[in-house]
């Protein structure tokens, strides 16, 4: 691994967090973003689980796509197969956690099964293939780094937003905006603020 490669991996990692943030830039995984961001600690637990699942899911789906689906000309089956694989993986992870790490299992609670239907996970595994198609140098390692970065990006977005929401609790909000409306307004403002990162990564790595 030469310096050029490391540099490009860092660029991919940072891009996944800042400019291509799955929640704030691609608007995937909005459900947990709004649903689980009420408290800082639950947001942290959910994000860690999502990060782990994203990396493992990419690690499994990338070879399946490249070596099984493409070689048989079945690219159109990716959504179906990926959902199947992700659901099985999450289930497997849950069983393993229950056995070997009960405290973590208990603290994640309902969030782990919920990840099965998290579109950010499916998005990470599928959109990375588009990148691979556009740029042949974007291989397995790059996909994994991208998945890890996306997970960390999810974590950053969740933690930022949980902080915003905890502050909102103390605010005197007009009655018609209370609850979900002000949450959506706050979410859009956080998303707009992330637009400010556009171009930053290219400059850093370029």
């Amino acid at each position: 691994m030469d310096a050029q490669m490391i540099r490009s991996l860092v660029a991919i990692f940072l891009a996944a967090i800042l400019t291509e943030n799955y929640v704030l830039n691609k608007f995937l995984g909005i459900c947990p973003f709004l649903g689980v961001s009420k408290k800082l600690d639950t947001a942290l637990g959910m994000s860690c689980a999502v990060t782990v699942v994203m990396v493992i899911a990419t690690a499994v789906t990338w070879p399946i796509y490249t070596y099984i689906l493409v070689s048989n000309g079945l690219e159109y089956l990716q959504t179906l197969v990926f959902i199947l694989v992700i659901a099985a993986l999450v289930q497997l992870l849950e069983t393993a956690l229950k056995k070997y790490m009960p405290p973590l299992y208990n603290s994640l609670g309902i969030y782990l099964p919920l990840i099965t239907t998290n579109c950010a996970v499916l998005g990470v595994t599928m959109l990375v293939l588009e990148k691979g198609a556009a740029d042949p140098s974007f291989g397995y390692v790059q996909s994994l780094v991208n998945a890890f970065g996306s997970g960390i990006g999810f974590l950053v977005a969740m933690l930022l937003f949980a902080g915003v929401r905890e502050r909102l609790e103390d605010c005197d909000i007009p009655e018609m905006f209370r609850g979900l409306p002000i949450t959506l307004v706050a979410a859009s403002l956080v998303a707009v603020s992330f637009l400010g990162f556009n171009g930053v990564v290219d400059r850093l790595a370029g």
Partner: protein, 264 residues
């Protein structure tokens, strides 16, 4: 036969995932708590939450761990408490039966209507409109949110005020949660005094609003030998643990707002 390949591939992947999960569930099986399962089978399964846990499975798990006492299940009553005690090996458990009590007698005869309410027939909706139509701002609105919440048909609206049939009540507490005025509280079923009023208004205002409201005259507090009655915010309150059910307060009350609960 192009269709065969995709079917085989998806089928094989699904089968592999299934086999891996099946093997994993056997290899990494976590022994389930047999006690918790037995307890859950005994509990009524109503998931009402009256015990303070998240449904019957949660309560069963807490009992199995020794964190909760048997006998918190009010829908199950003494029978379930005894069965739970047997499973836990702690023997039979004495259980105090509880029931919901409505602390208001503001029927149509005793209160007047300060306006003609013609909105949604729900206490919650009516109470949002200037506190509801009743002349007493603390009183029962008689639109039956509690009766609708009751799964056991134990609450009836009679002449504009809710009435609880104690023998049908299982003390699940759903009516107490449904009442926007907070007039319903759970108390043990035993011979004791019940103050059928929740008005914290001053005596003069209560007199104007209701024929039977508590005016906070302190007569009951003075006459009670057990020290079970305290008057706070111009409203008498009975401590069920101290009340002996002698009935002197009910006789002394000039407004006849204290009634005696007969118990079982």
């Amino acid at each position: 036969m192009n269709i065969v390949i995709p079917i085989v591939i998806v089928g094989v992947i699904g089968l592999l995932a299934g086999v891996v999960l099946a093997v994993a569930s056997i290899v990494m099986a976590v022994p389930k708590d047999e006690k918790a399962e037995a307890l859950e089978a005994v509990l009524p399964g109503a998931n009402c939450g009256a015990c303070g846990y998240s449904g019957c499975p949660g309560y069963a798990a807490a009992m199995a761990k020794g964190e909760a006492q048997p006998g918190l299940c009010s829908p199950g009553g003494p029978a379930v408490a005894a069965q739970c005690g047997e499973i836990l090996g702690s023997g039979a458990v004495e259980m105090e039966r509880k029931a919901a009590f409505i602390h208001c007698m503001g029927s149509a005869d005793n209160t007047t209507e300060k306006m003609a309410y013609d909105g949604l027939k729900s206490c919650t909706a009516a109470s949002l409109l200037n506190g509801g139509a009743s002349s007493c701002r603390f009183g029962c609105l008689g639109l039956g949110d509690c009766a609708a919440a009751c799964d056991y048909g134990a609450i009836e609206i009679c002449n504009g005020v809710a009435v609880i049939h104690e023998e049908k009540c299982v003390a699940c507490g759903k009516c107490a949660a449904a009442c926007p005025k907070g007039l319903i509280r759970l108390a043990p079923v035993k011979p004791m005094a019940v103050v059928r009023c929740s008005s914290c208004d001053k005596g003069k205002d209560v007199m104007a609003a209701c024929k039977v409201g508590c005016i906070g005259c302190m007569k009951c507090q003075k006459i009670c030998e057990a020290g079970a009655i305290t008057v706070k915010n111009a409203l008498a309150q009975v401590d069920p643990t101290k009340c002996t059910g002698c009935g002197k307060c009910a006789e002394a009350c000039p407004r006849h707002v204290i009634t005696m609960s007969a118990g079982e």
